[in-house]
């Protein structure tokens, strides 16, 4: 009960920092603008292609295109890459700023545990990211309103979940990196570099590659999105993301504790 209250107090505090500074507004603006832009671009392309296929239909041609597959999954995929750029902005100050300001001393001498501090900060950033996803999803409501064959909701839900999970991984990485320095810019840049590396790992995904390459490719954060985006809720992928998050938070916790011992 106490633990829950402490974590909630920390989440609230992080939100105050986000919305008391330009960070939340900048992140939300960039995110929703890009979400909208990708949505328009992908949707126009979808119209073009489906018009062409409709013409081919006269010759008994291609099957009907799916909004889910073409529009929603496409946009969400792009937004996963955008998240890679934006989440470092949300995580860079989490610990670095507390260390610089000396407020880590306030948290560390309050009757709360290190784990509660980590969780509060993680959930604070993740909930803001969830708000960003929710704001972006509003775009898709138009499809339900105007499409003759509305999209299925399930792939949208698993797609949004996939985005949330991959964002959680990004945030866990960023949280860990932020514990390593007292400089926000360094934390942000290092997080971004690390995330980019983890993304590129996925490019090695090739069934014909050797086992070691396959292991590295497996760690590629974006490779596990495919099935979820299609609407297939595979436990394997969810477990992958969750264990990645737990590992990131574990590293962050160890980092904070070990600095206490070495300080």
């Amino acid at each position: 009960m106490n633990a829950l209250r402490n974590v909630a107090a920390l989440v609230e505090k992080e939100w105050r920092h986000y919305f008391g500074s330009p960070i939340a507004y900048v992140a939300l603006t960039i995110w929703t603008l890009l979400f909208g832009a990708f949505y328009v671009l992908v949707f126009n392309r979808f119209l073009l292609v489906s018009m062409r296929s409709a013409q081919q239909m006269e010759f008994g041609g291609a099957p009907k295109l799916s909004l889910n597959e073409w529009v929603i999954s496409g946009v969400l995929h792009n937004m996963a890459v955008v998240a890679l750029f934006i989440t470092p902005m949300l995580t860079m100050r989490l610990f670095a700023e507390e260390k610089r300001q000396g407020t880590l001393e306030l948290l560390a001498t309050a009757p709360i545990t290190g784990l509660q501090i980590i969780l509060g900060k993680f959930l604070g950033a993740l909930s803001l990211f969830a708000l960003m996803i929710a704001a972006g999803l509003l775009n898709f409501l138009l499809l339900w309103r105007y499409a003759t064959v509305p999209p299925e909701w399930k792939p949208v839900a698993t797609g949004a979940l996939a985005l949330l999970l991959v964002g959680a991984c990004f945030i866990a990485v960023g949280l860990f990196v932020s514990t390593l320095t007292r400089n926000q810019i360094v934390a942000g840049a290092a997080t971004f570099g690390l995330l980019l590396g983890l993304w590129i790992l996925g490019w090695m995904d090739d069934p014909s590659a050797g086992p070691i390459t396959r292991v590295f490719a497996y760690l590629g954060l974006l490779t596990h999105l495919e099935e979820l985006m299609k609407g297939v809720l595979d436990l394997k992928d969810v477990v992958f993301y969750l264990s990645f998050v737990v590992f990131g938070l574990f590293l962050a916790h160890q980092s904070v504790e070990s600095q206490r011992w070495r300080a």
Binding site: N6, L10, Q101
Partner: protein, 324 residues
């Protein structure tokens, strides 16, 4: 209330705190004195469970800082050297957050915040962003944060640093008022602060306790040979011989540039020769215009204890004799 035994903290090869021991009784205000880098902050950080000690134990209210940190943290209010504040929060929001993480029940929160803000006189800036506050207000918000949960123990690391004289006096009054209800450790290198607020003093230097006593006793014990400053108008030679003639006088130094126009008369420890000195001077037909007992001020004691070389050639006892 606080028991520190043989506490040692090493940073790599550097030993910041070297086997210090002391106790603080309930309701007592203990002055923790030492030059910069003596290990004051490190000791306080260990007591507040911020840093683990390398060796030794510390117990607060019966709880070991290493074994039961949460129990200790619940009972300790701490003000680090620079008050830990969020500049982007207003005072009330900040105190509300602190109350939450300190486990103040929701029903009492508002009353506790009101009380802490009232005691530290930050009521008039409750809605102001902390980043816009002056140094004095920030210090007081830091203090408000520390007393918020009504802790048994208050640990303050130089709480008056950076305040103006009026604020310093107010803060000292506040700290004095908090003694009794709270057990307080107060670190400082401002000595009058200690003699004004603290019941007992622990002086540390290079990580070691060099003296522990009440401020009065410290001054008393260190006095050793009492020194009188005697101002005489008239023939200096006659005055000097008159002073030397007084029984109990060990040495007389004629007024030099350092003496400020007064004779320095050293008498045997414990002997009060003021009346005899006055009579001897007047008997010679000279005018006695000033007679003061120059006790060692806390400053001198402090310098004496924390400097390896004697500051004045005439301060006799080495530090070891004092702590004995």
């Amino acid at each position: 209330m606080i028991e520190v035994e043989n506490l040692t903290k090493r940073y790599g090869r550097h030993t910041a705190v070297d086997g210090i021991s002391f106790r603080v009784n309930k309701g007592e205000i203990l002055g923790f004195l030492g030059p910069n880098g003596a290990g004051k902050t490190t000791t306080m950080r260990i007591l507040t469970c911020y840093l683990p000690a390398t060796e030794g134990t510390a117990r607060v209210a019966g709880f070991d800082v290493f074994e039961q940190p949460l129990e200790v943290k619940r009972r300790v209010g701490y003000i680090p050297e620079t008050p830990p504040l969020y500049p982007d929060m207003d005072v009330e929001t900040f105190l509300d957050f602190c109350a939450k993480i300190k486990g103040v029940p929701a029903g009492e929160r508002k009353a506790r915040i009101d009380e802490a803000a009232g005691k530290t006189r930050v009521g008039d800036v409750r809605k102001t962003l902390i980043g816009r506050l002056s140094k004095g207000y920030r210090q007081r918000v830091g203090l408000a944060q520390a007393i918020l949960a009504n802790p048994d123990v208050l640990i303050m690391d130089e709480p008056t640093a950076g305040l103006d004289p009026k604020q310093i006096i107010e803060t000292r009054e506040l700290i004095k008022g908090l003694g009794g209800d709270h057990t307080i450790i107060l670190s400082t290198h401002i000595l009058p602060e200690v003699s004004m607020t603290c019941g007992r003093v622990v002086i540390i230097n290079r990580g070691k306790v060099v003296a522990e006593d009440t401020p009065d006793n410290l001054m008393h014990r260190l006095k050793g040979a009492a020194t009188l400053r005697v101002e005489v108008r008239g023939d200096a030679g006659a005055a000097e011989s008159a002073l030397r003639g007084v029984p109990g006088v060990l040495a007389v130094r004629p007024p030099g540039p350092a003496g400020g126009g007064a004779f320095e008369v050293e008498a045997a420890a414990g002997a009060d020769v003021r009346a005899e000195v006055a009579r001897a001077v007047v008997a010679k037909g000279l005018d006695l215009v000033g007679l003061t007992q120059a006790g060692m001020s806390l400053e001198e004691i402090f310098l004496h204890l924390t400097t390896t070389e004697p500051v004045h050639g005439d301060v006799p006892p080495p530090a070891e004799e004092v702590t004995a």
